[in-house]
């Protein structure tokens, strides 16, 4: 029982990371209609930006987080302006392939700038609290923070999307870009905001991953497929669904080792996803029509 609870805790941590990535993927898909394959490398770059802030200004990882988020938001908007904007009027699949090329570019940049060895934010190990009232499960302060901050960010995004006009305009754009233009919705600005949110959350995911594990130029790329799985599970274009998707994928990946050989672990995310697609193709929460 403790085993299960313990893995559940870990699953929630992993789920938070995936959620941060999946919300961005989901929003970008909703508005620009393409699966953003560079999102994993956004996470990587965000994590490394965090590293730079830590080593340059001596910040702690938690203070580097907002800085990395801002930095990544800027990078994301920049990339959109120089690349994606130029091909936005073509088919989505072109954007998809372009984002794939962008993934290659970002990864090699990270490698050129920061090198290819493992790095980490802080030396040392943080030992967990033992929660005896909860069957003796172990809980690390970092993990608690990761989950709490993720929750906060999710709430913020939720409020933004439902309470602000810009948030609603995003949904309008994802429905019918031409009509949004005709209605006077400043499409370019909305797209920019989408990238700001997507980039910032990707950076959060990257920094969380860096805090929890280590930094490596392929760290984000490796997490990309589970992030997609979470997006699908939640229903494409549904940021709230992404939360549920992220948590389900995270928890089931961590728990899977209880029943199947660990070598098949990466297949778990896919198996859930494929099963889901076949049984309920719109995702848990209906995806966009």
């Amino acid at each position: 029982m403790t085993d299960i609870l313990q893995l559940l805790v870990y699953g929630l941590v992993l789920g938070s990371v995936l959620t941060m990535g999946a919300i961005g993927v989901s929003m970008i898909f909703g508005i620009l209609r393409f699966a953003h394959f560079a999102h994993g490398d956004f996470m990587t770059l965000g994590a490394y930006l965090g590293l730079t802030f830590i080593s340059a200004f001596g910040l702690s990882a938690w203070w580097a987080l907002p800085a990395a988020m801002v930095g990544m938001a800027v990078v994301a908007v920049f990339i959109d302006q120089v690349l994606y904007r130029r091909i936005r009027r073509t088919q989505p699949v072109i954007l998809l392939i372009a984002s794939f090329g962008m993934a290659l570019i970002l990864r090699s940049l990270v490698q050129l700038i920061w090198g290819s060895d493992n790095q980490s934010y802080a030396t040392g190990i943080q030992f967990p609290w033992r929660l005896d009232w909860l069957g003796g499960i172990r809980l690390k302060p970092d993990h608690l923070w990761i989950v709490l901050i993720s929750l906060g960010l999710v709430m913020a995004v939720h409020l933004f999307l439902t309470r602000t006009r810009l948030g609603k305009a995003m949904r309008a754009m994802s429905d019918n870009m031409d009509l949004a233009l005709v209605s006077g919705i400043p499409a370019e600005r909305v797209i920019m905001v989408t990238w700001v949110i997507g980039g910032a959350l990707a950076a959060a995911a990257g920094v969380f991953l860096g805090i929890d594990t280590r930094l490596h130029p392929v760290m984000g790329w490796s997490a990309l497929l589970p992030v997609f799985a979470a997006t699908i599970l939640g229903g494409i274009g549904r940021p709230y669904g992404a939360i549920a998707g992220g948590m389900i994928i995270g928890v089931s990946m961590e728990m899977s080792t209880l029943i199947i050989p660990a070598a098949y672990k990466p297949a778990v995310a896919f198996a859930i996803m494929v099963g889901m697609l076949i049984l309920r193709p719109q995702g848990i929460f209906k995806g966009t029509v």
Partner: protein, 235 residues
């Protein structure tokens, strides 16, 4: 007095050949102007060009005397021009109410007055305010589309076939509404295939064919012209 809208000698298209071959359009304040013509004549293209959705290669568009050639749609809305496209004119996954709100995206302040106005014009929309627009019948969508455009309290309303797919009752109503709207001092430029009815309420009309102006006259005169009737209005 300057015209509300004036388009002079427009040339432009979708990349290849020019669809518009020197089209001219003019709307005076308080006027209802109707464009009729065969399918594929370039009517929708002309509307899109005026509204900045299409690059105009030559010619100019003036709004109240100021040039707005190739300005962004956002600018058009800010200046008080509203446009309802012919196809895909609602946000399918948003509710009726949200569709209307999007129409007033650039407007600051309380929307409830404007919403009420649209709801009185189209009571059906009030009834269905929570329905997703994508799931509505063809005619219902047209209402949503019109309603969305009216949310900005425009000075010039551009409508591309507003009555296509509407029931006779609603067509009558729609034209009534258009007259009402016009009576409040809003200029209306519309493309119509329901030509007889449209020309009947029009101050002026254009007949467009292959991107050029073929006839221009008052509505009643065009209706009376046997050639126009034979060629474009269905006898």
């Amino acid at each position: 007095m300057t015209s509300l809208l004036e388009a002079r000698d427009l040339y432009g298209g979708y990349g290849g050949v020019d669809i518009l071959q020197g089209t001219n359009l003019r709307v005076e304040p308080d006027e209802i102007v109707v464009i009729v013509g065969p399918n594929g004549a370039g009517k929708s293209t002309a509307m899109k060009a005026v509204f900045g959705l299409l690059r105009i290669r030559a010619g100019e568009v003036l709004y109240k005397g100021e040039p707005i050639t190739n300005a962004k749609p956002e600018q058009m809305v800010k200046r008080g021009i509203a446009y309802v496209p012919q196809e895909k004119n609602v946000f399918p996954s948003m509710t009726v109410r949200e569709n209307l709100e999007m129409g007033a995206y650039l407007m600051k302040g309380d929307l409830s007055k404007r919403l009420d106005k649209v709801y009185t014009l189209f009571p059906k929309l009030a009834e269905r305010r929570r329905q997703q627009a994508g799931l509505m019948s063809g005619g219902e969508r047209q209402m949503v589309a019109m309603g969305r455009a009216l949310m900005i309290d425009p000075e010039l309303l551009m409508l591309d076939e507003p009555t296509a797919g509407l029931s006779p009752l609603l067509i009558d109503e729609t034209f009534e509404r258009i007259k009402e709207i016009n009576a409040q001092g809003i200029g209306v430029l519309m493309v119509e295939q329901n030509a007889k009815q449209a020309l009947a309420i029009a101050d002026r009309g254009y007949v467009l064919a292959t991107g050029r102006n073929r006839h221009e006259d008052t509505g009643p005169n065009l209706l009376a012209d046997p050639e126009v009737a034979e060629m474009f209005l269905g006898g």
